[in-house]
């Protein structure tokens, strides 16, 4: 246990690693498996040192077999273990879609409540590193579409460190989408951050003129945009969804009831993306609260290109968020 009296600065990578180490140390049913999680130390060095600390049985390097090792995680969970499976990045998760969608999500229901799949799948994600189309996918919305799964997106240090423990305590499968771009980001963590929930969205910045809904990779740019808007006397409230399924609509509606304007930002393509779901729910339940048309920012509908200027043009940015917020209140 890493408990210190003072707040401390650390990176997201370290926060995720702390979560992993505490999970492995705290319960011997927990084990970690995935491609290069052991000897290599994790593709993004998140699990560095864990093999040495916990040994080969509990930190397992797998072959390049996404379907088999995610399915094996499901089976191990059925068999009483608490597996943490890492899929190297979301881009390779398609090879495990069958296991996630057809088994993890369905077994409790199809068995009439007899079976439980207490599995955690960690999925690093996030575009914006000039890696071209096949390595820049944003697909958490696909998974959030599926009943039977819980989908979370830690975007603060508290959540990076704490969501894993809560996810492991959940008797159902939880997919944790970690932002690759955040791993190296440093910030301050409270001395005793305590446990975090996986149910509620959080207002990360209070404001009165417009509600900006973001999560995961768009939280940081949304907060930067809110800071910039504040210099122009526009007060933006930033809601971090935290969990995409089940979606905490109430927190969004409460915020919209205060600001009467809505801007939704995510990295996914707009068509059928998570942002569309947020807008639909506000339209269903709080249309009367809106004083202006909803603004929605997503990726431009193109496979994410390699060249810097093209990639930047394809993705949400602080500048685009600022412009959209201004339009919303105009």
């Amino acid at each position: 246990m890493t408990v210190t009296a003072e707040p401390r600065t650390l990176t997201f990578r370290e926060a995720f690693r702390e979560g992993l180490r505490e999970a492995l140390a705290g319960d011997d049913r927990v084990f970690l498996m995935g491609e290069d999680v052991g000897r290599y130390g994790g593709c993004f060095a998140v699990s560095q040192g864990l093999l040495e600390e916990f040994g080969e049985e509990r930190v397992r390097d797998t072959p390049l077999s996404e379907s088999a090792f995610v399915g094996a995680g499901i089976g191990a969970a059925l068999g009483g273990a608490l597996p943490i499976v890492e899929i190297m990045t979301v881009n390779f998760a398609m090879l495990a879609l069958d296991q996630i969608v057809n088994n993890a999500a369905t077994l409790r229901h199809m068995s009439g409540g007899q079976l439980s799949v207490p599995l955690v799948v960690r999925i690093p994600t996030g575009p914006g590193r000039q890696l071209a189309a096949q390595h820049s996918h944003t697909l958490e919305g696909w998974f959030a579409h599926v009943p039977g799964l819980r989908v979370v997106a830690p975007a603060t240090l508290e959540d990076a460190r704490g969501m894993l423990a809560t996810a492991l305590a959940d008797p159902d499968p939880v997919l944790v989408f970690e932002q690759i771009g955040s791993y190296g980001v440093r910030g301050e963590l409270a001395a005793d951050p305590g446990p975090v929930d996986l149910d509620r969205a959080a207002v990360r910045r209070a404001g009165s003129d417009v509600t900006v809904v973001a999560y995961g990779g768009t939280l940081a740019p949304a907060l930067d945009a809110a800071a910039e808007l504040a210099t122009g006397d526009l007060s933006a409230e930033v809601v971090d969804l935290r969990t995409l399924r089940p979606l905490d609509t109430a927190t969004v509606l409460e915020s919209v009831a205060r600001t009467h304007r809505l801007l939704v930002v995510d990295n996914a393509w707009r068509t059928g993306g998570p942002g569309a779901e947020i807008v639909a729910r506000v339209a269903e339940e709080a249309l009367d609260e809106l004083d202006a048309p909803v603004e929605r920012i997503g990726a431009v509908e193109v496979p994410v290109p390699y060249a810097r200027q093209l990639e930047e043009a394809a993705l949400p940015s602080v500048g685009r968020i600022v412009e959209a917020a201004r339009r919303a209140v105009a």
């Binding site: 072959p63 088999a68 089976g75 273990a81 296991q99 409790r108 199809m110 009439g112 079976l115 089940p246």
Partner: protein
């Protein structure tokens, strides 16, 4: 094998055969809906494989799993109730014929995705390995599954980690309408499985005693830490792939030739030759099985359905607020 052992196998096979025949009638009558895949002709595999397992072992199966469930001891009444969509069904009417589950018997279903259960079986065995429990997981699947990537990934993983899985391939020579040689470049499936370093061999899947003995050897090997085994159980389905299938792709003569090796009658002949079964004994057994099926059908028919208000139960433990809406 002892006389009682062979006689038990025969009883199991007869229960499966007559159960499947009743399912045909119930399907035609509209009592069973959805997809229905029968294992008539493959009873020796179900009886032989399952007889070699102990109660602590786990079973992962496919959509053609009525026989496996029956041989595992899942009550007939809960199987029929499931197919009738009743709340007393082994999956509370949420699975149907293709998704029979019984956690208390470590029967992990009933998977309708070809090869989809194979990685799960590997994981069940991994959990046992991590806990040093001397249990084995038997995974049943068809010849068609051997063409899927999930099969190959799973065999490699189980062999690499030395896991106690017995892979039981029910090679009935067809994947729906596609004959083995029309989808596999190498049709010797045991040979291919062996390439992963998995002990693999082919077995006469029409001979229940041979299936039971081969499975027992594989189970003993896996349980003793010898790693996974693969059994290619060579069998044949006497009926169409499913109730929807007009069965236009098989030669009548081929089907008739296989019917001459009906696994139920082969074992009956052996038992008779050994003085373990006579006409009176057979008749008695047939009647007992008939009564069991009648009673199961009556009970299933009388059972209630789950109220629609409970539609969103068993999705997640903490109910999605929007699902509950």
């Amino acid at each position: 094998m002892s006389g009682t052992g062979a006689r038990d196998l025969f009883t199991t096979m007869l229960r499966i055969r007559r159960f499947e025949e009743r399912c045909v009638e119930l399907y035609s009558a509209g009592a069973i809906r959805g997809f229905l895949h029968l294992c008539v002709g493959e009873e020796a595999v179900a009886a032989g494989v399952l007889a070699a397992l102990s109660a602590e072992d786990a079973v992962v199966s496919t959509y053609r799993e009525h026989g496996h469930a029956l041989a595992r001891g899942v009550p007939m009444e809960s199987l029929l109730a499931e197919m009738f969509g009743r709340v007393t069904g082994c999956s509370r009417g949420r699975g149907g014929s293709m998704h029979l589950f019984d956690a208390s018997r470590r029967f992990y279903g009933g998977n309708a995705i070809v090869a989809g259960g194979i990685p799960v079986a590997v994981g069940l065995a991994l959990a046992d390995r991590l806990r040093a429990r001397p249990r084995v997981t038997a995974c049943l699947f068809g010849d068609g599954a051997v063409a899927e990537g999930e099969f190959h990934e799973s065999l490699n993983l189980a062999a690499l980690w030395h896991l106690p899985v017995v892979f039981c391939c029910e090679n009935n020579r067809y994947a729906m309408g596609t004959a083995l040689a029309r989808s596999h470049a190498e049709t010797d499936l045991a040979l291919r499985a062996g390439s992963y370093g998995v002990r693999s061999w082919a077995v006469d899947g029409m001979d229940a005693v041979a299936v039971r003995e081969a499975t027992a050897l594989a189970v003993d090997t896996a349980r003793a830490g010898g790693g996974p085994c693969f059994l290619e159980l060579r069998t044949y389905r006497f009926r169409a792939h499913s109730m929807y299938d007009a069965d236009r792709y098989r030669d009548r003569a081929e089907v008739e030739a296989w019917r001459l090796r009906d696994p139920v009658e082969l074992l009956a002949a052996d038992l008779t030759a050994d003085g373990l079964l006579d006409d009176a004994g057979r008749k008695e057994l047939e009647e007992a099985v008939g009564r069991e099926i009648d009673e199961a059908e009556r009970a299933a028919e009388a059972a209630p359905v789950e109220p629609v208000e409970d539609l969103t139960r068993f999705v997640t433990t903490t109910m999605d607020p929007e699902v509950a809406r």
